[in-house]
């Protein structure tokens, strides 16, 4: 297609949202008019599914749950007055609490004011808050946020070391929907221990974000934590950024959460339109479908040309992959769906993996995120009439063009600036696109049955570890791994036993391994 025809295609397909000043350009995706026609019935169904979901249908049948993240931005749409209050009440609670913290009227026992936030959560409880903090917090926010998003002891130590003696002015947020996920529970216990070591009263620093009645909720209330913020049963982790999970840390960092919600609400309205050419989420879902043949055969590469949007790809990795990566469709057929998502930022990636994107295996489509405003304030000229921002803009156009020339397709989303409204809108856009795409391929986007197997396997490893430690303690002499496995009641789990003792030994947990490390079956284990 020559440049004139492309310009025509650009204009034909350009989507523009006037209120949000947001553009969506799908002109560089090579779909055909026939594909539009053939997908129309699927889209009709997708729009209908979405309408039912928004009305309160059990859109997550496996877990028998409603799916209500869209109500969070427009509580009037909630299917009942009760649910409406479940949204409005925490919003007021968050704003009141944040106000007290920021004003210093609620303060820690041994400091004049809270200065830092330590957020303990994993998955959806971390990825949204991390993305939003990087995108929207000012360089010197009223409270600086830190994250413990793993069960890595060295990682926890590093976060605590960097907070140092500001622990006494740190507000700890423990986020866990069920209250029983091990990672946040581990992080909380480690942090609580650090508070105790410094002679500080953990409860006077801690708040919980959890489902009412959860184990964490009960603990927080029993121990007299500062506050408990409710999570709604009908909000999943990966769509929880506009619930207490995301709004509390945002508000504490001075981010305008009402603007985030307003931006998302505007986008939600735009993505309800049942004409997919005029619905940006439907356009995205359509492009994803065409690119990957409805089977995810192309990876989604996310390239925001703006440093502050660096974590958007990681956020979308969860939203897209956990929602769409499913073994079975809604009728029980094995479909192994999904779309792999990765990315970083432009133009940095031009100097990393764009080589492969342009020339290598064509197993992807790109999504450029363009931000029109370069910076606040004016720019110096690097050469007459040219600024750093002009370069960045030129790199985006150049890379898009170079990819297209080599038959690598791309979508471009353009926003006027990175602000709470546009970030709220971006999140809402992708949430809806994922929901619509799930309907197109007939899967449940709102459960995650595949993570259970790994959790169970991990739990059985920990159970086995206890048995192994007992067996070693009661062994009279060094024993080999097969014998140890047998004595731990797990004669078939020799490899797992080996991994356990190797890890225990490396951490000075009273276990010594002797023998040639290259030949595990020759090793002998003993207490020591």
């Amino acid at each position: 297609m020559d440049t004139s025809a492309l310009w025509q295609r650009y204009q034909t397909w350009l989507y523009y949202h006037e209120g949000l000043e947001m553009y969506l350009d799908v002109s560089r995706m090579r779909f055909e008019p026939e594909q539009i026609e053939s997908l129309k019935p699927k889209f009709d169904k997708a729009f209908k599914d979405m309408e039912e979901l928004e009305r309160g249908a059990i859109a997550n049948p496996d877990e028998n749950r409603m799916v209500g993240h869209y109500w969070l931005r427009d509580p009037d749409l909630a299917p009942s007055e009760e649910i409406k209050q479940e949204i409005l009440q925490p919003l007021t609670q968050i704003e009141t609490f944040a106000q007290k913290i920021l004003a210093g009227t609620l303060k820690p026992p041994q400091a004049a004011k809270f200065t830092d936030i330590l957020s303990i959560g994993i998955g959806g409880s971390a990825l949204g808050p991390q993305f939003v903090a990087q995108a929207l917090a000012s360089d010197f926010p009223p409270l600086e946020i830190h994250f413990i998003d793993n069960s890595d002891p060295a990682g926890i130590d590093s976060v605590l070391a960097r907070i140092g003696n500001r622990l006494k002015s740190t507000l700890v947020i423990v986020i866990s929907k069920s209250g029983s996920t091990p990672e946040p529970r581990n992080g909380m216990q480690e942090v609580k221990h650090a508070y105790e070591r410094q002679g500080l009263n953990f409860a006077r620093h801690a708040v919980a974000t959890t489902m009412p009645g959860s184990k964490l909720d009960r603990q927080a209330k029993t121990e007299g934590w500062l506050e408990v913020f409710p999570m709604q049963d009908w909000v999943g982790g990966r769509t929880s950024e506009m619930s207490s999970v995301g709004l509390l840390p945002a508000a504490l960092q001075g981010i305008d959460i009402r603007a985030m919600l307003a931006g998302a609400k505007e986008m939600d309205a735009a993505t309800r339109i049942r004409d997919f050419k005029n619905n940006p989420a439907a356009l995205l879902a359509f492009c994803w479908y065409c690119a990957g043949n409805g089977k995810g055969t192309k990876d989604m590469v996310i390239l925001p040309y703006k440093d502050s949007l660096l974590l958007f790809s990681r956020y979308l990795q969860q939203l897209v992959m956990e929602s769409l990566g499913k073994e079975k469709d809604l009728d029980g057929n094995v479909v192994n769906q999904g779309i792999a998502v990765y990315g970083n930022k432009g133009s940095t990636d031009q100097h990393a993996y764009v080589q492969q994107l342009r020339e290598g295996i064509a197993n992807f489509f790109a999504t450029f995120i363009e931000v029109l405003e370069d910076r606040q304030g004016t720019s110096i000229e690097l050469e007459p009439g040219i600024t750093s921002g002009d370069y960045l803009s030129g790199f985006l156009q150049g890379t898009r063009q170079a990819l297209y020339e080599n038959h690598r397709d791309s979508i471009t989303i353009t926003i006027p600036q990175v602000n709470p409204r546009t970030v709220g809108a971006l999140i809402a856009l992708y949430e809806r696109a994922v929901g619509l795409y799930a309907s197109l391929v007939n899967i449940n986007a709102y459960h995650q049955p595949g993570v259970e197997a790994g959790k169970k396997a991990a739990a059985s490893i920990l159970e086995l570890q206890k048995q192994v430690m007992e067996a070693i303690a009661s062994a009279k002499e060094p024993i080999d791994l097969a014998t140890l496995a047998q004595q731990a009641g797990a004669s078939k789990q020799v490899e797992a036993v080996y991994k356990i003792v190797r890890h225990l030994e490396a951490n000075n947990r009273g276990i010594v391994i002797q023998g040639d490390r290259a030949k595990p079956s020759n090793l002998k284990v003993t207490a020591g």
Copy 2:
């Protein structure tokens, strides 16, 4: 395969490096004995290619260059005395310089000591130093490092704002091999301007890492910068971590660079072995080949279970994708090679995209990085006999098992701890694996011809911008985009002209656009 057979396979294939205490486990990759046999001739050639490369052959024929990153860790292997000195001299220079900075004998004009480093570089000049800083710098390094790795004005502003008035005690490292890459040049000019605004003498804060004789080299010498560190012609950006590019910032952060080099040297020796079962890099390359059928049909998902290794996947993204993502093989055939790489960290990703890995589209293989040491010092028990580190270890084993059960293959690399030696060894391991794989598929791993097109297209956009600005300035009345393009001498580039004016307008660059934004062809542009 049942657990006993798997344990047998584990032992059969286990690679262990005694000196580095490093394990490589490929037992969960489903390759067959026939594949080993059929690849033997290719491996023989790969080993031979590698030997020639190390002897100084022109291993990068397109650029007529030797490829010498292995000499950096073992200068005695350099093909000439001259090259040996090109390695030893900068190493001494770095150590002497770092010592002066750390001791405070070389200090900034208006502060007692340098406190911060501002590193300006992109691609290989940023990814290695970023990975190593996160992996190896202590929580309170002698100098804290900041990165400008893009041409994003807001990103630059944010880095400078956070440095604030410590700019007067900041050492600026400008890294650019050719000295003419726009991004570091832009960053340097922006930073220089910030110094001037604060009345500081930039030259007394600046060092350059560049090729002798480059534009940057000349500028640094003319302006009297503190020092210039040489880059070698025969070291590519993505394999430059053990050159001045990586070693200077590492040394300034108090990282033991001799240990990094020693770890890499040990790994280099291990990966020279011509028996691929006893050569960990060959084993990796073999697994990649089998997984993706020698065509990269499976993505490489990197899952380090250690927060400090978070950036390893981003580092490998460049190393692997820029090296292997090639249109043509060495005989000129179109092959569109490559392996897509992404990842983040475990067990965090268990709560993000492992759902898709386990159940969704099976278009990947995983690489787990296990670190045996949980933390420095002892751990609290979360429940009797169980620590956070036990959980992390259990999650790794559990996820590996859950993936394998569902026919998703994985490699596991185990290191005793994250330290300069093991990080050096990991880098060397992957550098060699990439080199060997490139031989297997008969491509040049050391050039990047595909990035030129995007650069050229970007340059032409900037050229066009100047013409557009002139055309607008001389227009008597508002003109439409087609007319503007014509008057800018680019009547076929209407879309590019549109993008340019939209960007200029958003940045108050004296351009006003009127009309319906949803219909670009109706817009009128005028100076204003």
